[in-house]
C-alpha cells in the first residue's frame, strides 16, 4: 500500500486527523448499513423460504435444487449468456469501430462524437420508452418498413417470442456503444504517433498497423472495457423490464428480471435471493478471473 512505502516521518505526524477519520468512517458506516448488511441478509435469505410477511423458514439448499429443475431459470441463464456474448461482443466491436472512425480531428467530428455519446446521458428507462414507441405495431419501424415496400417484414417486435429478445438488445447496444467508444477514444489518444510512423517506415499495411500497434497499445483500455461490459450485461435489467418485463412468456427473461419478478411479483423472496446469489457469483467469478489474470500480466 502507498502509505507503507512512504518515507518514515516523526511518529506523531502519522496520526490521522479526526476529520479524515470521519470522512472514512461515516461513508463506511453508511455503506455497511445500506449495502453490506442487506447483501449479507440476501445470502441468508437464499437459504430460506420467505413471503415477506411471516418469519423466514430455513430450507437449506432447497432453493438451489429447485433452480436446477426450473425451466424458466434455464431459459433465463441461457438468455443471460447470450446477452453477455451479443451485447458485450457487439458493443466492444462497434465501440472500437466508432472510435477508430472518429479519432481523426476533422471539422464537425465533435458533432458525430457527441451524437454517438448522447444516448449514454439519457436514462435507460427513458430510452426504453422511446424505443417502445418505435416498436409499436403502428410505430416508426413498421411504418418505415411499409413505406419502403417491406410490409411483409412488419412485426409486433416486442410481443413476438422470436424477436423480443433481439428487439430489447438493440436499445441497450445503442447506448453502450457510445460509452465504449469514449473509452476507446481516450485510449487511442494515448498511443504515441511515433509508433505509427515507425510502422509506416517499415512498410506496415493499415491492417498490420491496427493489429500490431493499435490493439496491443489498447490492452489496458480493454481491461476497463471488459469489466464495464460484463458488469453492465449482468446488471441489465431496466431496459428489459421497461420493454418486455422478460416476456412474452419468458422469451426475453434474464437472470436479473427473473430475480425481480420472483422476489417482488411472486413474493418468493427466498428463491429470489437465491437467484441473486447466483448472479453475484457469476459476476464476481467473471471479473475476479479477469482481474487475477490482469494483475499477473502486470507484475
Amino acid at each position: 500500500m502507498a502509505v507503507l512505502t512512504m518515507p518514515r516521518r516523526r511518529p506523531g505526524a502519522t496520526r490521522v486527523p479526526p476529520l479524515v477519520l470521519a470522512f472514512v468512517l461515516v461513508p463506511l458506516l453508511v455503506e455497511a448499513a445500506w449495502v453490506f448488511w442487506p447483501a449479507l441478509q440476501g445470502f441468508y435469505l437464499a437459504f430460506t423460504s420467505w413471503d415477506g410477511l411471516a418469519a423466514p423458514r430455513s430450507v437449506g439448499f432447497g432453493n438451489f435444487t429447485t433452480m436446477v429443475h426450473d425451466p424458466v431459470f434455464r431459459t433465463a441463464l441461457g438468455n443471460t449468456v447470450l446477452w453477455l456474448l451479443l451485447f458485450g461482443g457487439l458493443s466492444a466491436a462497434l465501440g472500437l469501430g466508432a472510435a477508430l472512425l472518429l479519432q481523426q480531428e476533422r471539422r464537425g467530428i465533435g458533432f458525430y462524437r457527441a451524437a454517438l455519446f448522447l444516448p449514454v446521458v439519457f436514462s435507460l428507462v427513458a430510452t426504453a420508452l422511446v424505443w417502445q414507441g418505435m416498436y409499436q405495431p403502428d410505430g416508426l419501424i413498421n411504418q418505415v418498413l411499409r413505406a419502403v415496400g417491406l410490409g411483409g417484414w412488419q412485426h409486433a417486435w416486442l410481443a413476438d417470442q422470436s424477436t423480443a429478445f433481439y428487439a430489447v438488445i438493440v436499445p441497450a447496444l445503442w447506448r453502450e456503444i457510445g460509452y465504449v467508444m469514449v473509452l476507446y477514444l481516450a485510449g487511442l489518444k494515448g498511443i504515441d504517433p511515433q509508433l505509427y510512423e515507425a510502422a509506416r517506415v517499415d512498410g506496415a499495411s493499415r491492417w498490420q498497423q491496427f493489429r500490431h500497434v493499435t490493439l496491443p497499445q489498447l490492452s489496458s483500455v480493454n481491461a476497463v472495457v471488459l469489466s464495464v461490459i460484463v458488469i453492465d450485461s449482468l446488471r441489465s435489467f431496466d431496459v428489459v423490464w421497461a420493454l418486455t418485463r422478460g416476456g412474452p412468456y419468458h422469451s426475453s427473461e434474464l437472470l436479473s428480471t427473473y430475480m425481480y419478478s420472483t422476489a417482488f411479483q411472486s413474493l418468493r423472496l427466498g428463491y429470489g435471493s437465491a437467484l441473486a446469489v447466483v448472479i453475484f457469483v457469476l459476476a464476481f467469478g467473471v471479473i475476479a478471473t479477469y482481474l487475477v489474470r490482469a494483475f499477473k500480466e502486470a507484475s
Binding site: A33, A55, D160, Q161, S266, R268
Partner: protein, 432 residues
C-alpha cells in the same frame, strides 16, 4: 397542479424519517416487534395511497381536505406510485412503525395480511349507521374467513363488460349479443366489415387484462364457486374443466386483434375509440384514458351466456381501505374510515374522479349517466360477484396467469403444455 407538491423541508423530513425508519427497523426480516413505541398517538392519521393517476389522486386529495375541514382528528395523505406501493405493502405492514391506513382491495388479497394479524379489527365500525346498511355481499367480502373479524371498508367498485361505441355498432348494423353463439356470429359479421372484432391490450406491461377473459369464461362455463376454488389451489389448472374454458376461448380467438398482445390496454382503448377494433372486454377504469366527448358514445353488454344452467356471476372489483393493527391512532383511523363509508364522502369522491365507479353505500348517488346506471343494475342483478383474478387469489399468482394467457393468445395449439406449466408455476406459489 404541479406533480411535485413537496417542498424542501418536507422532503428532508421525509428523507430523515425514511433513514430513521430503516435504522429503527434494523433488520428487514424482523417481524416480531409488536408495540408501536416510537410513534406518539397525537398527530394526524397517515393514509398511504396507491391512487397515483391524476384524477383519482385529486379526488382523494379533495376528500381528505374535506375531512380535515370537518374538525376533530386530522389525516395526512401520502400518495405512492402504485407499483412501488404494491411491492412495499408487506414491508409497511410488518414494520414496527407503519403508516396507519392504506388503500387496498378486500377479499383474499387482504386475507393474506389478516391471517398474520396485521390488520386492524374494524368490526365495531360495521355496526355503525353507514356500514351496517351495506349489502350482505360487501359484508361477507370484508370479513376475514380466518379471524371472523371485519377488517376492510369498501368505498367504491366498478364492473367489467364488453364495451363498444354505440355509433359504430349502429354504422355496422349490429346488435348486442346475449348468448355465446350470438356473440360468435356477431364477430363473424364484424370481420366482414374490415374491423378486428375483439380488442385486447395484453402487451406492454398490462398482460393482466387477459385474465378477465379467463375469469369470465371460467365463471360462465364452470361457475363462480369452481372459479374461486381453482384460484385457491383446490383444483388444478390441468383439470378437464379448465381445458374446456380454453376450448371456448379458442373459438373466439380468430376474432382477436392480432396486435392485442403488443399493446397496453390504454393503446387498445385508442384502437377501440378510433373504430379499429369493435369491442373490448375491460373494466370501467379504461374510460380514464378516453376523451370526454367519447364517453357519451360508450355502451357495454355483459359477457354472453355459455351454459344457461350456470348462475350468472359478474366481475365487480371493490376498492377501499384497511388499517394496520400496529397503528397508534386506532380511534383516529376508525373516524377517518367511518367518514369514507358515508354516502356524502363517496359522492364527493365520485364527483371528482372519472365518475365511472359505483359507490358502495346504498344511499350514495352515482354520477347518473346511462352507462353507470346500466352498470349498477348489472351488478345488482348478478347471482354472485367475483373480484378479479389477482384479488380472488393473490398478486403472487397473477404473473403465472399473465405468462400462461399471453402464451395461449399467440400459440393456442400449445394449450396442453401451457396448462401443465401454469399448474407447476401456481403450485410453487400455493406451497410457498
Amino acid at each position: 397542479m404541479t406533480p411535485f407538491t413537496t417542498d424542501r423541508r418536507n422532503f428532508l423530513a421525509g428523507v430523515g424519517a425514511v433513514g430513521a425508519g430503516a435504522l429503527l427497523s434494523g433488520c428487514v426480516t424482523q417481524t416480531s416487534s409488536n408495540s408501536p413505541t416510537s410513534q406518539s398517538s397525537s398527530g394526524p392519521v397517515t393514509l398511504q395511497s396507491n391512487l397515483s393517476s391524476p384524477q383519482a389522486k385529486t379526488a382523494l386529495e379533495t376528500l381528505i381536505a374535506a375531512y380535515n375541514k370537518k374538525g376533530g382528528s386530522r389525516a395526512q395523505l401520502n400518495t405512492v406510485a402504485s407499483e412501488t406501493f404494491r411491492t412495499q405493502l408487506p414491508t409497511y405492514l410488518t414494520s414496527a412503525n407503519p403508516p396507519d391506513a392504506y388503500t387496498w382491495y378486500p377479499g383474499s388479497v387482504a386475507e393474506a395480511y389478516a391471517k398474520q394479524g396485521l390488520l386492524l379489527d374494524l368490526s365495531d365500525l360495521w355496526q355503525g349507521p353507514d356500514l351496517s346498511r351495506y349489502s350482505a355481499a360487501m359484508r361477507d367480502l370484508c370479513t376475514s374467513p380466518s379471524t371472523g373479524k371485519k377488517d376492510f371498508v369498501p368505498t367504491d367498485y366498478y364492473w367489467w363488460g364488453f364495451f363498444y361505441r354505440k355509433s359504430n355498432f349502429a354504422k355496422w348494423g349490429v346488435q348486442e349479443p346475449t348468448t355465446w353463439n350470438e356473440f360468435l356470429a356477431l364477430c363473424q359479421t364484424l370481420k366482414t366489415k374490415n374491423v378486428a372484432p375483439i380488442g385486447i391490450g395484453a402487451g406492454s406491461g398490462t398482460a393482466w387484462v387477459a385474465s378477465a377473459w379467463f375469469d369470465y369464461l371460467n365463471i360462465r362455463v364452470n361457475g363462480a364457486t369452481y372459479h374461486r376454488e381453482l384460484l385457491a389451489g383446490k383444483h388444478s389448472f390441468n383439470d378437464p374443466q379448465v381445458h374446456k374454458v380454453f376450448d371456448y376461448w379458442g373459438q373466439a380467438l380468430p376474432f382477436f386483434d392480432p396486435n392485442g398482445t403488443a399493446l397496453a390496454f390504454q393503446d387498445a382503448t385508442t384502437s377501440l375509440l378510433e373504430g379499429r377494433t369493435a369491442m373490448m372486454l375491460i373494466g370501467t377504469f379504461f374510460a380514464d384514458a378516453a376523451p370526454k366527448d367519447a364517453l357519451g358514445d360508450l355502451d357495454f353488454f355483459r359477457f354472453p351466456v355459455i351454459d344457461p344452467k350456470v348462475p350468472m356471476a359478474e366481475e365487480a372489483p371493490a376498492d377501499g381501505f384497511f388499517a394496520s393493527s400496529r397503528t397508534a391512532h386506532a380511534a383516529g383511523v376508525k373516524d377517518l374510515l367511518a367518514y369514507f363509508a358515508t354516502a356524502e364522502a363517496q359522492e364527493l369522491y365520485i364527483k371528482n374522479s372519472s365518475g365511472t365507479v359505483l359507490p358502495t353505500h346504498p344511499d350514495a348517488k352515482d354520477n347518473g349517466t346511462p352507462l353507470v346506471v346500466k352498470g349498477r343494475k348489472l351488478i345488482a342483478s348478478a347471482a354472485q360477484v367475483t373480484q378479479f383474478f389477482n384479488r380472488d387469489s393473490s398478486d403472487a399468482l397473477q404473473p403465472t396467469a399473465d405468462t400462461a394467457l399471453v402464451h395461449f393468445l399467440s400459440k393456442p395449439k400449445e394449450v396442453n403444455s401451457i396448462l401443465t406449466t401454469w399448474q407447476r408455476d401456481a403450485q410453487q406459489i400455493w406451497s410457498k
